[in-house]
């Protein structure tokens, strides 16, 4: 089943692959998919390993789903913005390269960008927040928001808390993607059922903004199985 008013911007990352696998499994196929490929030689943030054959494209080809490949890998470039601007879809699922923020020139084109933040909002804004919430409360979270100019502060469509995984060494590339995908699917199913976006919390103000976790704290979050702080 195609999501008529919804497109997707998918950077070539393990997270995008996870999202697309779940979207296919749940028959929630974006009407239009734009892929941002990394360069062959450089490992971009969020990419687990460099590949000669592209997993993301292989997945879409095998499922018989059409897609377009962007002329460059920069979501904020004029070329990519033009392509998105000219599409009829009003909402785009955004799964970009880690650490890349949407700048004003793309946020101002009148489209909505549905992002699944890895963390429970508004409490945990910023980067790698699930490691912080593991240390503080031994939980993880994921929140669906529409992106705005203020980081992780857009209206919250859906947010969920998750228990910590048994194997915490797989958080970065597996469990984080898995819980985000769960929230994405539930969020889209709700939209399919009601034909409009309901917000769990429109006022996503407050909370704390965190920055990339230091490896010492990350190791303690991985090695423990309970809250530490």
């Amino acid at each position: 089943m195609y999501l008529n008013n919804i497109g997707m911007i998918a950077a070539d990352t393990s997270r995008s692959k996870y999202y697309l696998e779940e979207l296919i499994n749940n028959q929630l196929i974006p009407k239009y998919i734009l892929i941002l490929l990394g360069s062959n030689n450089e490992l971009l943030p969020g990419q687990k390993e460099s590949k000669t054959e592209n997993d993301l494209i292989g997945l879409l080809d095998n499922a018989g789903i059409k897609y377009n490949i962007a002329s460059n890998n920069n979501i904020n470039s004029d070329e990519v913005i033009k392509v998105i601007d000219e599409r009829a879809e009003k909402v785009f699922i955004f799964s970009g390269f880690g650490g890349v923020l949407l700048k004003n020139n793309i946020l101002d084109i009148g489209k909505k960008f549905l992002h699944i933040h890895g963390g429970y909002l508004p409490d945990y804004k910023g980067s790698t927040t699930n490691y912080y919430s593991l240390i503080d409360k031994n939980i993880m979270g994921a929140s669906a928001i529409f992106l705005t100019k203020k980081i992780d502060s857009g209206p919250i469509i859906l947010r969920k808390k998750f228990s910590s995984p048994v194997d915490r060494t797989k958080i970065d590339y597996d469990y984080d993607s898995e819980i985000r995908a769960k929230v994405l699917i539930e969020c889209l199913q709700n939209y399919q059922n009601s034909s409009h976006w309901d917000f769990e919390l429109e006022n996503n103000e407050g909370g704390e903004t965190f920055y990339i976790i230091h490896p010492v704290l990350k190791h303690m979050a991985i090695l423990s199985s309970r809250e530490l702080n």
Binding site: I212, H219, E227, N229
Partner: protein, 229 residues
């Protein structure tokens, strides 16, 4: 088996800043590698002759912070009204001096009498350091986003580390310990001759305090293993 090392202090972090993105999990040995590296630096700073010109105010900061962090009170009286007034006047300034800002914030933190909300200003410095891995001599424009002047003034990094140590002691918010670890990585990565203008034992003190805090958290783990000598 490959020896686990602590890479974050290996190269001069003024010249080679570390992004800390997607750091690999290296197992329980990594925490011991961190403690060993800090221990090595603490011993080195202890034996370093501080024959440079040390600021009198820095000697006070070191002594007062030592009282606060080790005994919970600061018996060293200091008139801080002018620093409080300086912080209150910041919103009218187009350019601020980072050293004045840091000195004022430390004075406020050291004084238990003042109830000035320092969090937003500390968060501003945290954000600037986390994004750029630098602290500039000045910040300007209304949002104070733009740094100017020298960004290799070692004293600014030491003052920032001291401020974060005090603020973490008060708030117990892991966010500040996270930034503290990165600032201290940078200080340890520098040629030690660059630190002779800091108070004797001033660097040793902030490193010891950081390690004590990490061990306190690590002790809450089921299998606490690290040994600090």
């Amino acid at each position: 088996m490959k020896l686990v090392t602590y890479e974050y202090t290996e190269a001069n972090r003024f010249l080679n800043p570390h992004s800390y993105m997607y750091t690999h999990y290296l197992g329980v040995d990594f925490l011991q590698a961190y403690v060993n590296d800090r221990s090595k630096n603490i011993k080195f700073f202890k034996s370093t002759k501080h024959d440079g010109k040390v600021n009198e105010i820095d000697k006070y900061f070191y002594s007062a912070a030592k009282f606060i962090l080790e005994e919970g009170t600061n018996p060293l009286a200091y008139d801080i009204k002018k620093y409080e007034e300086y912080l209150r006047s910041l919103s009218q300034m187009t350019e601020i001096s980072t050293v004045k800002l840091l000195e004022s914030l430390i004075h406020i933190q050291l004084s238990k009498k003042v109830r000035f909300n320092t969090k937003s200003l500390i968060d501003f410095l945290v954000q600037r350091f986390e994004v750029t891995k630098k602290i500039h001599e000045n910040y300007h424009s209304k949002e104070l986003r733009y740094g100017s002047g020298d960004n290799t003034i070692v004293r600014l990094y030491w003052l920032f580390s001291l401020l974060l140590s005090l603020f973490y002691a008060e708030t117990k918010n892991i966010k500040y310990l996270n930034t503290l670890l990165k600032v201290n990585d940078l200080l340890c990565s520098l040629n030690h001759s660059l630190l002779v203008n800091l108070p004797s034992r001033g660097v040793e003190f902030i490193l010891k305090n950081e390690v004590r805090n990490i061990i306190k958290i690590e002790n809450n783990m089921e299998n606490s293993t690290i040994v600090f000598k």
